[in-house]
Amino acid sequence: MDFGLFFRRKQASKDIAKKRLQIVLIHDKTDISPQLAMRIKNDIIACISRYIDIDESALEIELTRLGESHRAKAALVANIPILGVKKK
């Protein structure tokens, strides 16, 4: 058992720094501007809404990473709360 973790009350600042850096670097490398991200989001909403009722206000799309360390690949992860399936 890792007692260091057990007794450490707050997250170490270096771990916060590492997480922040990983996110910043993914954004730097993929170069998806916030404007482009907004357009992707709107297109996804439009597409999915044709089939399913979704909660647009709670929809989250973020750029994140899959895999470990420098070999990690950028990934778009979407959380789309479903309200109900549209009936034909």
């Binding site: 600042s13 270096k14 916060i16 922040r20 850096l21 996110i23 910043v24 954004h27 730097d28 916030p34």
Partner: protein
């Protein structure tokens, strides 16, 4: 009366961005309307040091090119009333902006803020020329090392050629223990070489690393470097905060020793 102050150094890695973040935050805590401007296009970092990297939508190049309005690019720092950030573009380069555009931008910022603090990139090329273009005052950051002091001297010359003759010096990462051993240039040495006014001395402080890890300026804390930045802010606002300039008289123990030795002598 608004002021546009450029924070510059010539040499990289001496603490320009940290200084910009802390002086700006300190001024905002004193009730001033402050905007921090990152002019390091292509290598922006003021956003991460301030912990505002997730809130960037538009940047300085977007404003200059008319892609968005100034207000759309300004990021409000919700932690400190009156503080805003204008981030640099990350995927463009310094040549995408010219000094005339910077002058226009600075004028618009001047109308909306009490202090415009401009974080200058390292070097003396286009990025430097852009950063100083609209400035009416400068803070030169250096550390007590020969390379940094030499570059500071070069920068003082270039600023003078741009009409910025009132620049003041901030000595960063000052290590009193090393100074005492005679292994580090002291304040008097540096001022003697550079011949400019001193704005402040910020001690070397490990808490700085933690503060940038978290994206929280150290000026809000009681750490030695935080206290030093608070003193610099007070001086910028015209308060008379004493500076320790001569050799070996900065630390508490040194001061006590001086008092006692003086009494002995009397």
């Amino acid at each position: 009366m608004s002021q546009v102050i450029v924070v510059t150094s010539g040499k990289g890695g001496v603490g320009k961005t940290t200084t910009t973040a802390n002086l700006g935050t300190g001024l905002a805590l004193k009730g001033k309307r402050v905007v921090l401007v990152d002019t390091d296009i292509g290598l922006r970092n003021l956003d991460v040091v301030m912990g505002l990297e997730n809130r960037i939508v538009y940047d300085l190049v977007d404003v200059v090119e008319g892609t968005c309005r100034l207000k759309q690019a300004l990021i409000r720092d919700k932690r400190y009333e009156g503080l805003m950030l204008l981030p640099a573009a990350q995927t463009r380069n310094k040549m995408d902006v010219n000094p005339e555009q910077m002058k226009t931008l600075m004028q618009e910022l001047r109308d909306n803020f009490d202090y415009v603090i401009v974080d200058c990139p390292a070097g003396i090329e286009q990025g430097f020329v852009n950063a100083v273009a609209g400035a009416d005052d400068a803070i030169i950051v250096t550390v007590p090392e020969v390379s940094a002091v030499r570059d500071a001297d070069r920068i003082i010359g270039l600023l003078g050629a741009n009409g910025l003759t009132s620049a003041r010096l901030l000595i960063n990462r000052y290590n009193q223990a090393m100074v005492k051993k005679g292994d580090m240039l002291d304040t008097a040495d540096i001022l003697d070489i550079l011949g400019i006014r001193l704005l402040g001395i910020v001690p070397e402080d490990q808490a700085i690393v933690r503060s940038s890890n978290l994206g929280e300026p150290i000026v809000t804390t009681a750490n030695p470097a935080g206290q030093a930045y608070q003193n610099v802010v007070k001086r910028m606002l015209g308060e008379d905060v004493p500076l320790a300039v001569s050799k070996d008289d900065t630390g508490f123990i040194a001061r006590m020793r001086r008092i006692f030795s003086r009494n002995k002598g009397a």
